[in-house]
Amino acid sequence: MKTSDILICISRLLFPFILLYGFYIIINGHLTPGGGFQGGAILATAILISYFIYPEKIRDLNLLIKLEKYVFMVILIIASISLFTKGEIFTSFISIEKSNSFKSLFLIILNLFIGIKVSTGLILIFSTFIEEGK
């Protein structure tokens, strides 16, 4: 696929800002609209734009598949830490007497990992689609 120079130039300019916006939506997910899924989708779009800039960059698909699976395991482990602190699975592991800003740490961590998982999944779908039959 031939891409024009204007598109490549604008993509180079926009790429860091889209990444920043995606991380902002993930990290502020518990306060403002958005969250892990939406921010992950935006991160995936940012990395798809980098396909126009450097078409040969994403080569190692197996690494991405492994990363997605490990992140899934990490999400399950974080969700089940509360079994040891509260004796109940799938709730926050921070005790209820702590301050609000400290309690939101649980949501931030979960949103971050969900964002990574969603973005790697979308990149995988997209890059298998590009590589297929090449």
Binding site: P33, G34, G35, Q38, F126, T128, E132, G133
Partner: protein
């Protein structure tokens, strides 16, 4: 009249134009605009959460996937099991193989891009591997004929069969969907 009414009317017009238009690329652009308008409509109807997801997925990722699907549609992928010294599918400046000329004319007639893989089938990337090949070229050991294998459901195979009717050493075999997996 509020702005949401305007957006709803625009949405109706966009969906009608998606259904009516024949050009594939135009349909994708209309689809992208549809997602953008519906994302802004979600925002005005007080669900910004959905608007973010719709804007990111509906108007960026899905059109890109569709555009790549269209560019894949214009390729004609051939996997060759014929020995490379045979020269049937050769493409050099002075000497062009007979099979290559036939396939080249055939794909030029239908505006497709011809891609030939010389038995490097295992190196192909992707999960849908077994379904994407249009044609497999083999040489039978008994009769010495070249065998072109393709899917039965493809309309292009009927045309190829008609085209190679007069050639003695070429045989076209049509296979049911899903059987072509090597």
């Amino acid at each position: 009249m509020k702005i949401t009414h305007l957006l709803q009317i625009l949405l109706i017009f966009l969906s009608i134009s998606i259904m009516k238009s024949k050009d594939n690329l135009k349909v994708i652009f209309f689809f992208s605009a549809f997602s953008l308008v519906s994302a802004s409509l979600y925002y005005f109807l007080k669900s910004p959460d959905l608007a973010l997801a719709e804007a990111a997925i509906g108007s960026a990722i899905i059109p890109l996937i569709y555009i790549i699907a269209i560019s894949k549609q214009r390729q004609f992928l051939v996997v060759s099991h014929v020995n490379k010294k045979d020269g049937f599918l050769d493409n050099r400046e002075l000497f062009k193989g007979k099979g290559y000329e036939i396939l080249d004319n055939f794909t030029k007639h239908y505006n497709l891009k011809l891609i030939i893989n010389h038995g490097k089938y295992d190196e192909l990337q992707g999960i849908f591997r077994s379904r994407n090949i249009d044609l497999v070229v083999e040489k039978s050991k008994e009769s010495g004929k070249y065998i072109l294998k393709g899917k039965k459901t493809s309309i292009l195979m009927n045309k190829l069969e008609q085209l190679t009717k007069n050639e003695d050493d070429i045989e076209v075999i049509k296979i049911e969907e899903g059987e072509m997996d090597d």
